[in-house]
């Protein structure tokens, strides 16, 4: 089997715009707040997953992006759920929710919320995607200064070439103040219709075009 892997679909949400495989699929005025945009996108796409409302903003962003991404392909049907890996990175970890949680342990108003605390771990978003789709493969969360196409392409290629994982849902999800963006994509061993090789150059091109 060739060691070459391919990007088979991608989806991004940034500046109140949803892009699926490079075309703008849904957008609103850039005046709308990030969180309101996510809620209206959830309704627009009729995602029908009430747990969505309980998630923190980072998970909401990751869940919508992964849902739309997985709608464009048949990954969850074509692969055994144990062969699908999820590897996601970001720069701010779970900072938005960390700050929110910190305010709830303030002495004057001491009612810390268990739900908020749970979301102070960035990898919970991997769990949310896994639960939503029943995916049981390998999953890892990295924290970098910025999207690192070189790292992601070499890490995912090595994962697909050397482990039981046959495909991977991967990318970048950040949510903090004005730093709100997601870019998730699928990597498989077959070229698919897009025929985009999973290399650092191709990945950089796709990411910057979003």
């Amino acid at each position: 089997m060739s060691d070459q892997n391919y990007i088979t679909s991608f989806c991004s949400i940034k500046s109140s715009k949803v892009c699926i495989n490079s075309h703008i699929d849904y957008s609103e005025s850039s005046q709308v707040s990030s969180i309101d945009f996510l809620k209206s996108a959830y309704k627009h796409y009729q995602l029908a997953y009430p747990k969505f409302y309980k998630m923190d903003s980072l998970c909401k962003l990751a869940l919508i992006t992964s849902d739309l991404l997985l709608k464009t392909n048949k990954i969850t049907e074509n692969y055994n759920k144990e062969e699908i890996a999820i590897v996601i990175a970001n720069s701010v970890s779970s900072l938005e929710t960390d700050v929110e949680y910190q305010t709830t342990i303030d002495k004057n108003n001491y009612f810390p919320s268990p739900t908020v605390f749970v979301y102070t771990l960035p990898n919970i978003l991997l769990g949310e995607i896994a639960i939503r789709n029943g995916i049981k493969g390998e999953n890892t969360f990295f924290v970098f200064d910025k999207f690192d196409a070189g790292f992601m392409s070499s890490y995912i290629n090595s994962l697909l070439n050397n482990s039981r994982a046959k495909c991977c849902i991967t990318g970048w999800v950040d949510f903090y103040e004005n730093k709100v963006e997601s870019f998730l994509y699928t990597v498989e061993k077959q070229p698919g219709i897009m025929n985009i090789e999973h290399t650092s150059e191709q990945l950089t091109k796709l990411y910057t075009n979003q």
């Binding site: 809620k39 009430p50 409302y53 309980k54 009612f111 810390p112 919320s113 268990p114 739900t115 749970v118």
Partner: protein
């Protein structure tokens, strides 16, 4: 009692972020967990916080929560019996 149940419905929707639901969608006697509202263990902990914050009632052992949070009706009964 009805006023308390109505108030609880609103508080639960808010505290548990059940944005899809309206008060009239919730049956006071329907189970909160599993079937019914489909709440989970974290929601139970959140309801424990709600009881303390809004009613000053402290539940020490999470095992007690199960019976108290059977339905909105049982929650209301518990609040009435325990509120100082």
């Amino acid at each position: 009692m009805d006023a308390l149940i109505d108030k609880l419905k609103g508080e639960i929707i808010e505290q548990l972020n059940l944005e899809d639901l309206k008060k009239e969608d919730i049956d006071a006697n329907a189970p909160l967990f599993g079937e019914g509202l489909g709440l989970d263990s974290i929601d139970a902990l959140e309801l424990i916080v709600l009881l303390e914050k809004n009613y000053g009632i402290k539940i020490q052992d999470p095992k007690d929560a199960k019976a108290i949070f059977t339905s909105i009706q049982t929650m209301a009964d518990y609040i009435k019996a325990n509120q100082k």
